[in-house]
Symmetry: C2
Subunit: 318 residues, 2 copies
């Protein structure tokens, strides 16, 4: 009877569950809606029920589950398995999530920060595989990060390392949700790329984005990249600022952990080579001339599955 | 017969050699002049001769040496033991320094970046002891760094991690020796603190530093701190900029590896609590409000011995 792993990726909007073989191949997966006001106990029961359904659907039984990996928004402490709090899971405060799941499942459970889990997925099975030193940056609503150094996740003294979106690149700059000013996230996340565009539109009546805002009542990051690629000067300027902030933060990350690869994930990478070339341009502009760097900037390859694959890979090590 | 360790700290100006017991207590030590134009083979022979003299002086024999640790300026690769180059050791280019020393000594040798060795010394026997996550910043001619995460030195993909002096804090700012603009080193190293003072003196005729420059033909970082502590407004402003740059880089470092402690070493820490309080002030000003951080900013405690103690501690692990 084949052993399987469960990889669970908890988000404020969705919970993704994957059933994987020991080679980390996804046998089957499911995505369920989550609610930001869900109670911890209710969420645990929901997860357990969905895991069982998923296994049945794949023709497997619960006894075949070797261990379970869970990626969750944080801050959380992987050592104690406690979810301290999460902006998108309002009822969770110092919740012993690992213990609750482990008790209910009767299986070993590992709890990891969601960005770290996705980072680990890319490191084991995606764009970071084949190297021991990588950094992962997710470009979405915020900017999340994960760091692998010498083959190990860098977790920090209480599990809160790799908050890479909050590296300050422009002191005194834009106010970030975290309370700091000038964080890279305040410029270069998908949300803030769209926000910057809206804020600066007043002075740019010629931009197609103005019409989009009038028609749709909003502008998305996708709109900004779309217009930029069609040659809209204002949109191009907004994209340039995003890429410059990202190039700059890559220089700073390089000087801290010297990865051989920085891997970008998240929704924004749908912009493709157009975005990557611009980040590389600004990286090359800011990096020192004292010596040539071998670092590679590239895109993640696992897409939405990175979280469940990474969580399962961490569970495999239990 | 007691086993001993040798810890060697190579600098462009001096070579320090320590003979330590297995508890890392220094039995005896010596400091010899080095030259920036010394040939690799000559330096190796000099080191071996000085080690033998030091041992004899301590009533020990070479057979008692268990292993040897060497800290050297770099870039160097600890894995291969090759010193790629060093600005203050002009004749060294891809020199297999570890192998040369090991062959000549007939003992196991470990080669490590000098800042990493000093960091490891502080981590094992100094201000970082008792914790698994620390960062070390040396404030001298340049700003060097070392990172310990989960009890291990972060070396990066080719041994060049922790170049913390070259984190860019002010994009487009002062030109750094590395070719980048706005590095923290370009503002807050001892050398650059003095340089900034000299550059800005023209507009500040009232400062005591003006008289010092006229009398001595130069200004040192010590002069700047001395005048600041005596209430000189211009000197206070220069110190404030140094402390602000350091506070800011500490915020950024925290968000990457989340150490429990950032330890400052190097000549500048002679300024004492006056400096540390200012760094803390700026750290507190820049850090996020989303949650309280437990990180401790403090001074190194091993002084000039950190390098030889750290090198010996690394040798002990061979």
């Amino acid at each position: 009877m084949q052993n399987v792993l469960l990889g669970i990726d908890i988000g404020g909007t969705n919970i993704k569950i994957g059933c994987l073989d020991s080679g980390l191949k996804i046998i089957d997966k499911v995505s369920k809606l989550n609610r930001s006001d869900i109670e911890p106990q209710e969420m645990v029961e929901l997860i357990v029920a969905d895991c069982k359904k998923l296994l049945a659907q794949a023709g497997l039984v619960f006894a075949q589950v070797q261990s379970i990996g869970v990626g969750s928004p944080g801050p959380l402490d992987p050592k104690s398995g406690i979810l301290k709090s999460a902006p998108n899971l309002k009822k969770f405060h110092n919740t012993p999530l690992r213990e609750m799941l482990s008790k209910k499942m009767g299986k070993p459970v590992v709890l990891e920060n969601d960005a770290n889990a996705a980072c680990w997925g890319e490191r084991i099975a995606g764009a970071g595989s084949g190297g021991d030193d990588m950094v992962f940056l997710t470009l979405g609503t915020g900017i999340g990060g994960g760091i692998v150094s010498n083959g190990q996740l860098i977790r920090g003294t209480s599990g809160e390392a790799a908050e890479l979106g909050h590296i300050i690149i422009y002191p005194g700059g834009r106010l970030c949700g975290c309370g700091q000013r000038g964080c890279v996230e305040a410029y270069a996340s998908a949300t803030n790329t769209a926000k910057r565009a809206i804020e600066n539109l007043q002075q740019n009546n010629k931009s197609t984005l103005k019409k989009i805002l009038e028609t749709n009542g909003k502008i998305t990051c996708k709109d900004v990249f779309g217009c930029a690629q069609q040659g809209d000067e204002f949109a191009k300027q907004m994209v340039e600022q995003t890429a410059e902030a990202l190039g700059l933060v890559c220089v700073n990350i390089l000087h801290v952990t010297q990865p051989q690869r920085i891997v970008f994930g998240g929704g924004m990478i749908a912009a493709g080579k157009y975005l990557l070339d611009k980040i590389q341009y600004h990286f090359d502009k800011y990096i020192w001339t004292i010596k040539k760097e071998d670092i590679q900037l590239c895109f993640a390859t696992l897409g939405e599955d990175a979280g469940i694959i990474g969580a399962a890979a961490l569970a495999r090590e239990l």
